[in-house]
Symmetry: C2
Subunit: 383 residues, 2 copies
């Protein structure tokens, strides 16, 4: 796999952003989070794990983006296609990029104007609130407002090059899932399974494994977000592993269920319902349908149309982050388009209140969804 993207990919992203900015009356975007900065620059580092320093990218209405970043990132940003890179020695307790950012904004918007900032659902501003207030005060001639969902609009539709990276991540996870019988079985503590599964992901080609969740129990699991306890797997347990591993900055996000011994009839029936819901979800995941159509198609199967339980949704977008827009919920009217990458993630609740969840990844194409994650067996794998 070729790492990174061709410069043309970034140029196209910026051009699309600039068209949407023009339509929205915005003169610049101000971006602060990892995926936002990387989307336009290709700046890929795990250093975002450190919360100490803010990072800024300005996308002007014309021309290339301008990076305003801590000097520790100068060398790496210098390897991207960005050439206007302004740095300060961070952390600076008195002025942690505030003046440099304000000056850059004023520079780029000489005639005044409006700066759009991601402010809506699934966004946040990754900088100290007090510093944001100082930036606004320092840029008295500029307006600051919502970016009107431009980042959502752009990132929701993936390019073929992006889809290839997600496919690659899915393939790595698929190979790791195929090896679960090597590491799990009766008597193996769940926390060891979690540790070993991450090892398998790395061996199969993951750059890193930002996300692993799961659970185990006789009729499924209590929830899907808890850390693993050292409880040994028992005969009759269902083991679920759900991973979001990363290859070249792109995630997969799917799970697999395994039965320790032969699954009981309730579990077999529940799994069959999940498989049925996956089929119905795919039938509904067509260009021109709405996200809510996909939700209703699956919800009819898993709850008879009563709506989601605690999980809150039956799937979502996927890409540079583990979860992205849209959400498969009754209220999300997002029109599905060619190039959207999604997870379908139906869950059923069993008699004891435990849940069983299945998840796969797809790209929506003109002729219907194409599965990116390897096909799951129609019956649960027994170990």
């Amino acid at each position: 796999m070729q790492r990174g993207f061709k410069q043309a990919e970034y140029e196209a992203r910026v051009a699309r952003a600039q068209r949407l900015m023009k339509d929205s009356g915005l003169d610049a975007l101000l971006l602060t989070t990892e995926p936002e900065v990387r989307y336009f620059t290709g700046y890929l580092t795990r250093f975002w794990e450190s919360p100490s320093r803010p990072w800024f990218l300005i996308v002007p209405l014309s021309g290339k983006p301008v990076a305003v970043i801590p000097s520790i990132g100068a060398a790496l940003m210098g390897k991207t296609w960005i050439d206007d890179i302004r740095t300060w020695s961070a952390p600076d307790l008195k002025d942690d990029g505030v003046s440099l950012l304000s000056t850059a904004l004023i520079d780029l918007l000489r005639d005044g104007g409006t700066v759009g900032i991601p402010s809506g659902h699934e966004t946040h501003l990754r900088m100290p609130l007090a510093d944001f207030e100082r930036v606004k005060a320092s840029c008295a001639g500029l307006g600051f407002t919502s970016e009107n969902g431009i980042m959502r609009r752009l990132r929701m539709i993936k390019s073929d090059a992006e889809i290839a990276k997600i496919q690659h991540a899915c393939d790595v996870a698929g190979r790791a899932f195929a090896r679960v019988p090597e590491i799990a079985g009766e008597g193996v503590p769940l926390d060891r399974v979690f540790r070993d599964f991450q090892r398998l992901c790395l061996e199969e080609g993951a750059d890193w494994v930002p996300y692993l969740a799961g659970g185990a129990g006789p009729l499924g699991y209590d929830d899907v977000i808890s850390p693993a306890a050292p409880t040994p797997l028992k005969n009759g347990d269902v083991l679920m592993l759900d991973t979001g591993l990363v290859v070249d900055g792109y995630f997969c996000d799917f799970d697999r269920n395994f039965s320790i011994g032969t699954p009981c009839q309730d579990v077999q029936d529940a799994y069959a319902v999940l498989m049925d819901a996956m089929v119905k979800g795919q039938e509904a995941a067509q260009v021109g349908n709405k996200a809510s159509d996909v939700f209703h198609a699956m919800d009819l199967i898993v709850t008879g149309g009563k709506g989601t339980g605690d999980a809150g949704r039956l799937g979502h977008g996927l890409g540079m982050q583990l979860t992205e827009w849209p959400s498969f919920i009754a209220e999300d009217d997002t029109l599905l388009e060619d190039g959207m990458v999604i997870t379908l993630e139906p869950g059923v609740t069993l008699s004891n209140g435990s849940v069983l969840v299945h998840e796969d990844n797809f790209v929506i194409r003109k002729n219907g969804p194409v599965q990116l994650s390897v096909k799951a067996p129609r019956s649960m794998v027994e170990m």
Copy 2:
């Protein structure tokens, strides 16, 4: 190792917070980020990797914290000591916790009052900006202001139970570093070393490996934050690996340098300077000294007192996050106290502009710093 903390630990944290809130004239804290929520609740999950849903914790001036969270987290939060857990089915595109949070704040502050929010250095607000504005508008009788650095003040001093977890993480990384000769050597591509080192960390007991950086080159490395390329290690290269792995929610953060073959004299000399700077840093890292004293002691050795280069600092705090307050820079006057956990991280620049960086972890104690990371050899390990 016992997972989690006793309830008394959380009660003490809340009591300390409430004393500081009283001193600052705050009637509640509103917290939104992973470490902030976990600090008072023990709520530990990797699900924060998903950016879709906001999470809220309110710490009132008296009584236990109140969680206002997506229903997907209800089961796990229910296992903590928190008993007032208010949930909504998230994502909700029309009202993603805004009403529930506003109602909770108004409930808890019946006579009005001021809500403190982390707003200073190394903080951010993890919720959509537009929703924050809606919360403020919905709580017209309440004031919203900075929490006055209370979270920094609290989290900077670690309890013995916290220090034991960091020690555990350091021990795991120490064992992984000891096994690097198994996975690295002349001809091995750097990206494979990165992958395999994460595997070693998991095998030695890491829950997960949120951070790995490093580099390789004949006179050190270009920077310390770049992802690994598939470039094979060459005889004479210095390989550096810097990991922030996690055990039970607490990080280590230290690195090790290895020489592929015998290091050249320049590298040997540079490494000796780093070892000397570590000694001087420890001598300065005494209760009652300032963070800046530690900086100056090390900076005198590594640059002759000329100040940091691109890295911006020579170490920092460490704990629930990879990097925390304080910073070892000239401007940080934080007084060092018993129970602070820190990294000392001096770097030297070699003749070709490459850098060599060493890092170890310590807890500051009344009688001086105690090293948590395993002792590094006085001369670089050769492989």
